[in-house]
């Protein structure tokens, strides 16, 4: 809501307050001043008449004008297309300062110019700059422009919260200011002088939908003369951000901005018999004042005559019945439409207006009838004509001030304050909420413009905000709540992230949505996806079912920025659809990605390992943090992973994710020139398994007895086929005897002298006995058994 401070001051004496003081006072009462637009007072700008206009001899788009301020004539070069002889215009004389422009004598293409004819923008009024501002014909010449067009004002942009539609008018803001600054309010009178013709002889109003339209009044003003509205009214409308159109429309907009009551004026010539307030027919069409055709349905309310819709109720009038230049008699609508209906209609049509904005928030229906009189008399005053006797239509709403009872002690208890009941009453009274004291109780009569107040807490807020929130102290809640240990999700997430940070990974954070095309590369089951109905763009349309597609993008971006070693991770939610009308399954996933070399360039000769093993090490480190062990199984059928370099991950025998190099086909498709490794695990599963093992079982956790005797080790170098998995060999070894306490692979070798298709794999077996120090005699038979088993199960022979 844009409010002209000059206009505001017509209703409340604030001359001793600066604009900042006024804005701050209202802001701290909840009506936030969000912006200021100062329309500077101008000097050396006067009204003048264009007496002559000729084409510029050297420029097509310029003209040379003679203007007079009544005493002197000036030659001016003007570039505006709309300048014409006979116009009254704002004229900036030599020495005037308009924003950054200082008016000086000038020569434009060889013709001397002594001033400037101004546009609205040049005067600082609006952004309008299509031509010069043309003033009404009866404007006196040579007058100081400041008293004419509204310069020398500040427009404050207030943010009226949705609960306070009463702040959407200048008088509403003035009412608030009266309470904040504790000053009296001066409101205009609503008196109407009527002639002796009865409205009912000209028009009837039939309200079919009284629930959707509880109040509808029509007044008739006859003999109006359409013309531009007076400059003072135009200035106020411009300040409020409304473009002046003609005197009738301007009066309706003026009352809208002054009081917050939407009005609409119809030309009576286009109304067939009477007005009907009814539901629209399905597929009924109307062309609105914005020139667009709208298709209505049965849920929407229209103002109609017997043959056609005249207006979309509360939203916008129809083009056909609008006021024309030759309109003589207008029907003025002043109504109250039910908020939800207007809101639904406005949403469905995608059409909103100053009227619908106020109706859907709720107007002061207590003032509707009175304002029909006020607006009608203003039309008669501004546009000429006489107001017919009476009003057509009716009020079907019982208008009364609701009572809300609140308790002083309870309010103080809620606020943590110690306010006196009399002070509370005075505040409420100053807000026009008339309040009686009854013991500890406050009995308040709520005015019709304050539909936001219904409960004690609403009264508490009124008291608190006018008293000032700064008057409330600072305390801490005293409670006997049990303090939980932090949830495993929070703790485990933090541990995993800190671990990966220490392992050299950079944490990324990506949007949960990506493009359908891109996501489908990795997850081909469309039913998995949760899809947005109104995405910002097509590449943010579907919710992720994996994290790694985002990480791949991040790695590519950073690669293109020149990074040669990229290690990223993200721990975030993924979403699996359960049908679009249901909540989705949300799980935490942890994803890691490596592109380029694993480490930054270094002077150190690092072992040349397949990146797979680094990534697997990082992942094992994280999983190991929770005392869990991951099992890796060869994965050959995952379409986005390299068939020879990928594994599925299992925790406690449950599938938990995968790790591997991206499939060359995918690399090609995504135009990735570097090797790219990814891993993704179901972190929610890891949390559950780890929690069950480590925390749920806390009370039964016991240490394992260990041997006091030294262990001994034996190395075996084996020849096996290349595709034999190390883990399988180890499992076989371990199964042979309980005194085998550890088995590791300490060397793997392929190539000469080993025959093609075979590899040498060396294992180190550790033997430990609980009872004694082992000797060769104890070990040798076991070694024999191991070798037999390895040969039988894996075709392994000693090298």
């Amino acid at each position: 809501m844009n409010v002209s401070i000059n206009w505001l001051k017509e209703y409340i004496d604030l001359n001793d307050k600066s604009v900042k003081e006024i804005a701050d006072g209202l802001t701290l009462a909840g009506l936030e001043a969000e912006g200021f637009h100062e329309i500077a007072a101008l000097s050396n700008v006067v009204t003048a008449k264009v007496i002559n206009k000729e084409k510029h001899p050297n420029a097509d788009k310029l003209s040379v004008c003679k203007v007079t301020d009544g005493t002197e004539e000036y030659q001016v070069v003007c570039g505006a297309p709309n300048v014409a002889a006979g116009q009254i215009v704002p004229f900036a004389k030599i020495g005037a300062v308009l924003g950054d422009i200082k008016i000086k004598e000038a020569k434009l293409r060889g013709v001397e110019s002594f001033g400037m004819i101004c546009s609205e923008r040049e005067l600082g009024l609006t952004d309008e700059h299509n031509g010069i501002m043309v003033l009404p014909e009866d404007t006196p010449l040579g007058a100081d422009i400041n008293g004419i067009v509204g310069t020398g004002d500040t427009i404050v942009e207030f943010n009226a919260t949705p609960n306070r539609p009463d702040w959407l008018s200048v008088i509403g803001v003035a009412r608030e200011a009266a309470a904040v600054f504790k000053r009296p309010l001066k409101l205009p009178e609503c008196k109407v002088i009527e002639n002796n013709e009865n409205v009912s002889d000209f028009i009837k109003v039939d309200i079919e939908e009284k629930a959707k339209c509880p109040i509808y009044f029509a007044r008739i003003i006859k003999g109006v003369k359409i013309a531009p509205s007076p400059l003072w009214m135009q200035a106020k409308l411009r300040a409020a951000g409304v473009r002046p159109i003609n005197n009738i429309v301007d009066v309706t907009n003026y009352v809208l901005m002054e009081w917050g009551q939407p009005l609409h004026a119809f030309d009576i010539r286009n109304i067939d018999k009477g007005i009907i307030v009814r539901n629209a027919f399905d597929n009924e069409k109307i062309t609105a004042l914005d020139g667009k055709e709208y298709t209505l349905n049965n849920d929407m309310l229209v103002i109609a005559d017997i043959s056609k819709p005249l207006a979309i109720a509360g939203v916008m009038g129809g083009e056909y019945t609008s006021v024309m230049s030759d309109t003589d008699t207008v029907v003025l609508e002043c109504a109250y439409f039910e908020p939800a209906t207007v809101r639904k209609t406005s949403k469905k049509l995608g059409l909103s207006s100053d009227s619908s904005y106020r109706y859907e928030r709720g107007i002061d229906y207590g003032a509707t009838e009175k304002l029909a009189d006020y607006a009608a008399s203003l039309i008669a005053e501004i546009c000429g004509g006489t107001v017919l006797k009476g009003k057509a239509g009716s009020n079907n709403l019982k208008i009364e001030e609701r009572k809300v009872t609140s308790s002083c002690s309870r309010i103080n208890k809620l606020l943590g304050s110690d306010y006196k009941i009399e002070d509370m009453k005075n505040i409420l009274d100053s807000l026009l909420i008339k309040t009686e004291i009854d013991g500890d109780n406050l009995i308040s009569s709520i005015p019709t413009f304050r539909n936001d107040i219904a409960l004690e807490c609403d009264i508490a807020e009124e008291v608190a905000r006018i008293m000032g929130y700064d008057k409330i102290g600072y305390t801490m809640p005293h409670m006997d709540n049990e303090i939980d240990i932090q949830s495993p999700k929070v703790r485990y997430s933090r541990t995993a992230r800190n671990t990966l940070e220490n392992l050299g990974y950079n944490e990324v954070l990506n949007f949960s949505f990506l493009g359908a095309d891109y996501l489908s590369i990795f997850d081909t089951n469309e039913e998995h996806f949760v899809k947005l109905l109104n995405p910002i763009s097509q590449d943010m349309a579907w919710m992720r079912t994996y994290i790694f597609p985002s990480i791949i993008k991040n790695m590519q971006t950073n690669k293109n920025m020149g990074y040669s070693s990229i290690k990223l991770f993200e721990l975030s939610s993924i979403y699996i659809s359960n049908g679009k009308s249901n909540l989705a399954t949300e799980k935490l996933h942890l994803s890691l990605g490596v592109m380029g070399s694993y480490y930054d360039d270094t002077w150190i000769n690092l072992p040349k390992l397949d990146t797979f093993y680094y990534l697997k090490g990082a992942l094992d480190n994280v999983i190991g943090k929770f005392d869990m062990v991951a099992e890796y199984k060869r994965l050959e059928d995952c379409h986005f992973l390299h068939p020879g370099k990928s594994a599925s991950i299992h925790i406690n025998g449950k599938y938990a994710g995968f790790i591997g190099a991206l499939h060359p086909d995918i690399l090609e498709k995504l135009d990735i020139k570097n090797n790219c490794y990814i891993a993704e695990i179901d972190f929610s599963l890891l949390i559950d398994e780890a929690y069950n093992k480590n925390e749920a079982a806390k009370s039964t956790m016991r240490y394992t007895k260990f041997s006091r005797f030294p262990s001994i080790q034996r190395d075996l170098a084996l020849i096996v086929k290349s595709r034999v998995n190390a883990a399988d060999l180890i499992n076989t070894v371990k199964s042979i005897s309980p005194i085998i306490t550890d088995t590791i692979v300490f060397d793997v070798f392929e190539g000469k002298p080993i025959s093609f298709g075979y590899k040498s794999i060396a294992v180190r077996i550790t033997f430990t006995d609980m009872e004694k120090t082992l000797r060769d005699d104890d070990i040798n038979p076991i070694i024999d058994n191991i070798l037999r088993a390895l040969e039988k199960e894996h075709g392994a022979v000693l090298r």
Binding site: M479, S487, L533, N534
Partner: protein
Amino acid sequence: MNNDELKKASEFEEEIEKSSSLDELNNVRIKYMGKKGIISLLNKVLGTMSPEERPKMGEAIQSLRNNFETRFNEKANTIKKALKDAALSQEYIDVTLSPYPFTKGSLHPVKKIYDEIVDVFTAAGYSVAQGPEIEDDFHNFEALNLPKTHPARDMQDTFYIDENNIVLRTHTSPVQVRVMESQKPPIKIIAPGTVYRCDYDQTHSPMFHQIEGLVVDKGITMADLKGTLKLFISRIFGDDLDVRLRPSFFPFTEPSAEVDMGCVHCRGKGCRMCKGTGWIEIAGCGMVNPAVFKHVGIDPEVYSGFAFGMGIERIALLKYGIDDIRLFYENSLKFLKQF
């Protein structure tokens, strides 16, 4: 035995002193102490002496021997130490070379602030609650006193999954509802999480993070809310910043307020960042609206509570002086590695 022999036997001192290596030193030992060494041979002379002379001479020889050992060991140690020093002086590495690359990575700045805020509140006895990001209309709006026809719904641009019922949650407030549905007072939780709004520019991200706080018990006051927020702001931004509550509107709280804190840039003096006001908006808050309590079956006659919510990105922007929210989601290593 004559003095010449003893004198000759005493010459080892000079020879030990002159030795420059362990080998030379050993040769001296052999020369004097070996089987046919000069000192060893003195024993044979001893046998030829009279019983009267013998003890005296014996003592002299023993003293000679002891002296030899002492001198020998001293010199041996000196030589060994010199050798060790020489060897050590050869062992040299460039300690300024880069280490084995156990290089630290980084945590995302938004998550860092997220952790920091969670820590502040958990230290004050708050539990962490979480809820779904894909939320139903009831929890995201209806139960928070935001019926479908309410214009306050326009305050948040919503992503819809299903026109009527399923949305991406627009705030973390539905977690309040879910907690109160399942838990009776006293309640003291924070709900950090990801939220979504259909808006994308320099200051708006379609996905961002919020932290919601909810405290419900008997006798909770608005002064408690102010105290809590002041504590929070002093923990995150420092003790010297003022806190101000400004009346505002949220359907789920009444009274409601916006929380302003002294500008982190000019410390409240007024600058471009705070548009000269000295204040920066940091959170929304208020006393839980009885309508919300009714939706979850908590008696507003018995209990009261406060709630607050704030954007984590906004706090990160302020704290790190970042001017474009989109930087958080570009994931450029040039940016990430700074944290």
